[in-house]
Symmetry: C2
Subunit: 421 residues, 2 copies
């Protein structure tokens, strides 16, 4: 007697197999699977030169050394009068010091005159400090009568002056390799007049749909066929997390076809196979990866998304995603995003989360870490999971709740963290 | 006697003015300013047709009605045998029911035979249900001997079958106008074979640098000049929040030049002026906006970033940002981002935040809401603010802490929320 062994929901470690339908390999825990995946990917080394207007969200591949001081000259930090501080020491509300205004400069202008004792030059914020002057008296602490300026308050040397190089000193390494280029850091590059920097390349990700039932968008849908969903959800997720997706033509369920497609995809930084839903389709993927390289694991104790494959071919990580759209996309958030961000050298995805009560009791499978898509409605988390094959489970959810493997029940009203998409 | 009135740090309501240096208008509170800004911008109405691969992060401008059922046919949800459920009712572990396998189909194939009493067809997950069959027996509950299949467990009608339209029913409005296109929702479009949708256009934002001291990147830096920082920080921020920035040539501090540039910029959805740092430059902006339309406010009780201008010209919102890079960028996060996201119809920026103790005492100005850039180091928030003119204040920070207007001191060790960039 043969007992077939098979699909997603029934696979146990060590179960007997037969008749060409192979089981998933022994299931490994979420933690172990995650660790293997993360260890199997190395941050990208490829670099490219990018312009400042393309720099947002990119990762610096070089240290940036300041080639100039910022500000490039000592400048007035206030509108007022550039003076010699010592001239103002005797000043007070009832006994102003009187100075001669010898010049007035506006933003972008340079003083021609020099400030000597008894003199001042009217300056605007940002003007280079005139020669001789060592402080700026704020305009509100003065009174003007033609060229005669009365100063009512003393200033100390360097008061209201931004020294040259105060913000950035020439020669300093001001940004470091590996830094994410935020708007503020792009500002540093601009301040230094730097128009191009070396950044790490964005990882190119091969997205390979498989399954004889999968039809690419734009083609007519014959009976028994369905449109390719996973290539589009995964591409969006890849783009959102710093990768450049490339959707391959759908691969037929034939060993040689899958193998030659994987070989072609080795030119990419990461390979993501999606599908199929049946055991036969999954076996094909496993066999293809095994014949070209190494299968690190196949089957992970997570729900949905158990039939996840991790392989290495010539140093390239291959992730085989489940064919069912919800399984595929929850695994995308759970595994592909962290792997891709490590590859792209991006910090962990900063997911906003909210803590809200669960709207109804949820039963989970002991031994399986569960990703539960939920909507947030009236301050509660409402389970939105339909079934693994339903894309609407994810589309109409706001985020997901994680139920650890050792929990089999979450009661109505219990507070849960919802990780928002 | 004239008392000049002037810069950022000294402006009070009702202060006297003189000699062509105008004060900021009466300062308004952060809350009031924010409210006026948000009320002055209307969500964009322009639409465009976009392809599915460009849809990520876009906002639907149409309801999406399903033109087909998903799945498009009733399908097997398990690998196994399509049967008539009633045939299996007598089955049990010790008295299997015997059926004739009349056909075997794989993914993407359609059964030619029909399942009548006593028959079964072997199916893979995802296969269309063969005619006549109303349930699927999982392969593990069976035993095969050639074409004779022994069934050890009964199934009820529709067990392990996904009905046609279970995920999406034809005719349903499955996605609604105004929805953000997440990976999951893009998956819904793919499942329906939809390759193009109508989305709201991304707002085009005119970024207008001003100030005679500002030099565009790529030009030599004469004495007294500095490179344009704000156009680059703002552009990155605009891109990050769903806008399309267009950097204008730097405008000279001349009323007619500023006016004609604003008029040109009315072709954009939002106008952002940056600079200048001096009172004269700011006055020019105010005068230009006043002569073309209406100044809603000029001066807001926030630190840094007080000299912020809000104007309306022919229904177009104009935001005048302070010239100092840190003031400009903190205001970018504080005001420009919420305004732009409302314009773009995007949900509020989901900023991750962490709650950590402050590393040292921070003094704030009573009556001014303070944005304090901080680094997160060893689990504490370390103030990173240098001065409003220093771009490194923002570049080397991880996020910011907000200190409300009615707080003048935050003690070392107090828990604060750090909003991460």
């Amino acid at each position: 007697m043969e007992r077939h062994h098979h699909h997603d929901e029934c696979c146990e470690q060590g179960a007997k197999t037969g008749s060409g339908m192979k089981p998933l390999k022994a299931l490994i825990s979420l933690e172990e699977g995650f660790k293997i995946l993360m260890e199997s990917v190395r941050p990208i080394e490829r670099r490219e030169v990018i312009g400042l207007l393309q720099a947002r969200g990119r990762v610096l591949a070089q240290d940036v050394k300041a080639g100039m001081d910022v500000p490039p000259f000592p400048r007035a930090a206030m509108d007022g009068y550039a003076v010699l501080a010592q001239d103002t020491f005797p000043a007070g509300t009832f006994h102003p010091v009187t100075l001669d205004r010898v010049e007035t400069i506006h933003a972008g202008e340079i003083a021609k005159a020099r400030v000597d004792n008894g003199m001042c030059i009217q300056v605007a914020t940002g003007c280079p400090m005139p020669e001789g002057a060592d402080a700026v008296v704020m305009v509100e602490d003065t009174e003007a009568e033609g060229k005669t300026i009365r100063v009512y308050k003393p200033v100390y040397p360097r008061q209201n002056v931004s020294p040259q190089g105060e913000d950035i000193e020439s020669g300093t390494i001001i940004l470091r390799e590996g830094m994410l280029l935020t708007p503020g850091r792009i500002g540093v590059l601009a301040a230094l007049g730097i128009q191009e920097v070396e950044a790490y390349a964005k990882p190119r990700v091969a997205v390979i749909p498989s399954g004889n039932e999968i039809v690419p968008l734009g083609e007519p849908l014959a009976l028994g066929r369905i449109y390719d969903v996973n290539s589009y959800t995964l591409s969006a997720l890849i783009e959102e997390n710093g990768g450049v997706p490339m959707i391959f033509p759908t691969v037929a369920d034939e060993l040689e076809a899958v193998k030659s497609t994987i070989q072609e995809a080795l030119a990419y930084d990461l390979i993501v196979l999606s599908g199929g839903s049946s055991v036969g389709e999954r076996d094909m993927m496993v066999a293809a990866v095994e014949s070209l390289g190494e299968v690190k694991f196949h089957g992970i104790a997570v729900k949905p998304g158990k039939p996840t494959l991790c392989g290495l071919v010539k140093g390239r990580l291959i992730i085989g995603m489940p064919g069912y759209p919800t399984s595929c996309l929850t695994n995308g958030y759970g595994f592909l995003v962290p792997v891709l961000r490590k590859l792209a050298r991006l910090p962990e995805r900063g997911s906003s989360s909210v803590k809200v009560p669960l709207s109804r009791r949820v039963v989970s499978t002991i031994g399986r870490h569960q990703y539960l898509p939920v909507r947030v409605e009236d301050g509660a988390a409402v389970p939105a999971f339909k079934e693994s094959g339903a894309i609407t489970s994810m589309a109409l959810a706001d985020g997901w709740v994680e139920i650890p493997a050792n929990v089999d029940l979450v009661e109505k009203g219990e507070l849960v963290d919802v990780y928002l998409f």
